[in-house]
Subunit: 566 residues, 2 copies
């Protein structure tokens, strides 16, 4: 391929809308173009990167006996009504009608389609286990697309669905797929991807893992124990705290004046926030009724755990005078307003704490949970914290990092097979519901994440396995006949040998040529120039700067092939 | 791959809803499953056939310097408003709104997206020519999906778009692409596909060709000259007729009683239909105003030519008393009702013809066009006919066949670049609009067409190049230890050699095994059985029945590899 004809502009200035480097570099390097919010067209270099990623995924899925199928992008609402998700999923699902008024949706995931495809086929136990997967366009009407390919509304995804007759069999396959995912990331050049325990969200099911590339631009918070194997998405991370026992003290009402935030109140009473019980207020989306979470003053509410516990969505509360709630002075003692009260485990056994007195300008000191708020149930509703206690090894060793989710796997159980009436006859002739797992990887997001992990200020540094081309051949001063003739010959020879070459023989300066090469990020650069020719040499340089050699003209072809294959 | 675990049911009974064989065989063979009208999921065998077709297309597009890109499935209405097609395309385009109320469409074709992708990039003449293509899901809300994969609402398509600075350059590339398409069909196993002149329809542009597989189940009528190269879709076929000169006669009103159809009137007057001028009535969709086409009595109106001439859509007329039109007795003389009158070329120079007298129960004889309806303009509005005159060689050599369109190519001209404001600076510094071509192939329809062309009553007979697997290995009586061990060994050896093997070692009868093999249509069948083993032989048989040999056990592997590669 000649660079001269490669469609797509490359440019120097970082577009002002780009908050993450991969987004900026993919626009600057002519990888993609904005079409609408969260929707891009791909130019050839990105298409090639994505196709190579798809092929790696396909090979690894085939290796664990995956069968490649294809589900439709457009689906009838009916199968989503069967599963119940037509109503439980919100605005993120695109919905519309066809010319006959039938309700349709765009696929954001394909559990329903997978069950629809196999529910008549897989009617006896001996057809199990099996896994079907597809690589297909997905649509999701994200509220806030961001970061280029990191969070988009249209994307290519590999999604796989396995079906089993026992939990043990699912667990074995889940583990196999976990290993396949590790191989995929390693082959794509990001072996540093880690798996973390995650919340199952709208997929349902019990155990699930996310594969995370740790990077400051990540949207997720990941809790990692520095001592043991514990790794979890913040959404699913247990919060363990020591008992806040500040000794015996009577419950005493004190005037705290204008102090309303827990920091102000604690400062006024000369106590650390840990010695307080704060109130965080939400309202249920459905009926705006109040939900108040009491937790230790230095902790934050984990909204995922909260909505999982409530079984419904909430939003931060807007407290007005009619509510009867004394905002800024709310506490668990003598609370009389109408609200659901929830208690975080961090308060369990707490003694001599500060809390609101439900009267404007007043707080209590000496709050002792068992004595003053007896008989309440405690739930884990707080976010894990940096330096917090690891729920596995019990040490104060937690750290919190940012990560991009580049894949996820779920044990779904029988949620979909039950809802959609898929059954098989077991060895005893009894009808049973098969147990499912599902396994997803976003192709474009993985490409962007690799770019995020491997780039410098000049462009991406693509790993060999997914680089758009294998060799970037620069012919400097193509107006020099001998130089151009040699470069042409080398280009043809490499192409004939099946090497993917991007050949730049434009009549431009070395500066432009090399900055374009940096933006295209091809691992091996070969430079043919009159100066090198005079020395009888060709220059080979790695995009990642790991080497820069001159090799004799006569050896160049073999050396290049060797570098490509090694 | 073991057949035992291949997801998908195979069965014997032809589903009653199937009107075409490929549809029936693809359901019976576990290739696909109905999801909604015109929307299917693909099981592994069809996915593999389609992926091989996609790869053939990709290689041929790359060979003519195509650059693979990817446009979105979901597009903002705005770019379709720019081209004007947001309003000109009807119900076949899926339209909906996102969560913010923005208008979106699903891509049924991507001219707009192609121009959007390159309009800033291709701003000077030296960036031309280039061609970009994608292989992507398309959505089209067909009024009447039919024939399985022949006419669907969701399909995978390769669509390419080329950009040029001169008509000559477009024509050269168009020809190159025409040849690439011929190679694609040949490689996919249907070299018999022919190209025909076609109507450009909603694409716009001047010259266009459709690639047609002639088959009785085709939806299109193809006009072919038996003597010369002339081939055209009926929609675009010129209609040439000899002058209907029946001598001199005065215009005479005659009572024709209850005779209303042209056949009844001609029978009553003892004339052949050729000697008549019939009236065919339509109404414009926009305002229901009447359009009456006068043409020779033995011909039919070509509605494509009619709507092209009118520049708007029409529907067959519903004539009521208020219209002032004497239905069944309408003629061009003394016509006083309100309507647009159009005259087909077949009437030009007509003498002594029969026509309606615009009075119920009366017709004229002796109609002589130049004398009785002077000064009218004639247009080609009739369908070409079997045995009609070839517009190229002028002989009565036309035949009409049915065909399935398996691809199309269009010279688009500047329709989209002008509408969307895409310009480049030419060598003289002047701004110009680039000239476009576009090139489409539906992958699933091609798969179905190959099946249509190559099948027997038992199943598809896949060409080697696109067969889902290369070898179908049957182990009869896998309960026989020696037989099974040998078959296992052969399977592993073939797989290790990179041969694609579907291995059937189920404990089922030879009848079931072979009928399943027929449905899967794999070109080479290998049969390992106790009986063959006793003879020290393995049986090799072609799905297309071109050979059936026994080879010594020791030679089997090499013979199979040889057959696969030849």
């Amino acid at each position: 391929m000649k660079l001269e004809k490669l469609v797509g502009d490359r440019f120097k200035e970082r577009p002002s809308e780009c908050l993450v480097d991969s987004h900026a570099l993919m626009l600057r390097g002519g990888y993609m173009k904005f079409v609408a919010s969260g929707i891009f067209s791909q130019y050839m270099p990105l298409r090639r990167v994505c196709r190579k990623i798809e092929q790696i995924i396909r090979e690894e899925m085939d290796r664990i006996d995956g069968q490649e199928v294809l589900f439709p992008v457009v689906m009838p609402a009916s199968i989503w009504q069967e599963s119940g998700r037509y109503s439980s999923i919100g605005a993120e699902m695109f919905r519309f009608k066809d010319r006959n008024g039938a309700d349709l949706v765009l696929g954001m995931t394909h559990e329903e389609a997978a069950v629809q495809l196999v529910r008549e086929y897989a009617n006896t136990y001996n057809k199990y286990p099996f896994m079907i997967y597809q690589i297909q366009t997905k649509e999701r009407d994200e509220a806030r697309p961001r970061g280029g390919l990191i969070r988009v509304r249209e994307f290519t995804m590999k999604d796989g669905y396995s079906f089993h007759t026992s939990q043990e069999d699912l667990e074995q396959y889940y583990e196999k797929c976990h290993k396949a995912y590790e191989r995929i990331y390693a082959r794509a050049g990001v072996p540093e991807v880690i798996s973390v325990k995650s919340d199952s969200g709208m997929m349902g099911g019990s155990v699930s893992h996310e594969f995370m590339l740790l990077t400051p631009i990540g949207e997720d918070s990941i809790v990692i124990c520095k001592e043991c194997d514990y790794r979890s998405n913040m959404e699913a991370a247990d919060s363990i705290t020591e008992v806040s026992d500040y000794g015996d003290a009577p419950l005493t009402k004190v005037n705290t004046g204008d102090a309303h935030t827990i920091e102000e109140v604690c400062a006024a009473l000369k106590a650390e926030p840990k010695q307080s019980c704060k109130a965080v207020m939400y309202q249920k989306n459905a009926d705006d009724s109040f939900v108040i979470i009491f937790l230790r003053g230095d902790l934050d509410v984990n909204e995922t755990k909260l909505t999982n516990l409530l079984g419904c969505d909430v939003h931060p509360a807007a407290v007005d005078e009619n509510s009867g709630i004394a905002a800024g002075c709310t506490g668990p003692v003598n609370f009389t307003a109408k609200a659901t009260l929830l208690f975080d485990s961090s308060l369990k056994g707490g003694k001599n704490l500060i809390c609101g007195a439900n009267e404007d300008g007043y707080h209590y000191t000496g709050l002792t949970m068992e004595r003053d708020v007896p008989g309440v149930e405690y739930h884990d509703l707080a976010k894990a914290t940096e330096g917090g206690i690891c729920p596995v090894c019990g040490k104060h060793t937690l750290s919190v990092s940012r990560g991009v989710e580049v894949g996820n796997i779920f044990m779904l159980g029988t949620k979909y097979t039950k809802a959609m009436g898929m059954q098989y006859t077991d060895a005893n002739g009894e009808l049973q519901y098969p147990i499912m797992g599902c396994y997803g990887i976003g192709v474009g997001r993985l490409a962007a994440s690799v770019c995020e992990a491997h780039h410098d200020e000049f462009g991406p540094i693509w790993p060999k396995s997914i680089a758009p081309w294998q060799v970037h051949l620069c012919c400097l001063r193509a107006d020099d006949e001998e130089t151009h003739a040699y470069a042409n010959e080398l280009y043809n020879k490499l192409e004939d040998a099946g090497i993917e070459v991007l050949y730049d023989d434009r009549n431009v300066s070395a500066g432009i040529m090399f900055s374009d090469a940096d933006l295209l990020g091809i691992p091996l650069r070969v430079i043919v120039s009159p100066r090198n020719m005079k020395e009888g040499a060709v220059e080979l340089a790695a995009r990642d700067k790991s080497f820069r050699d001159k090799v004799p003209v006569g050896d160049a072809f073999e050396q290049i092939v060797k570098k490509v294959k090694e």
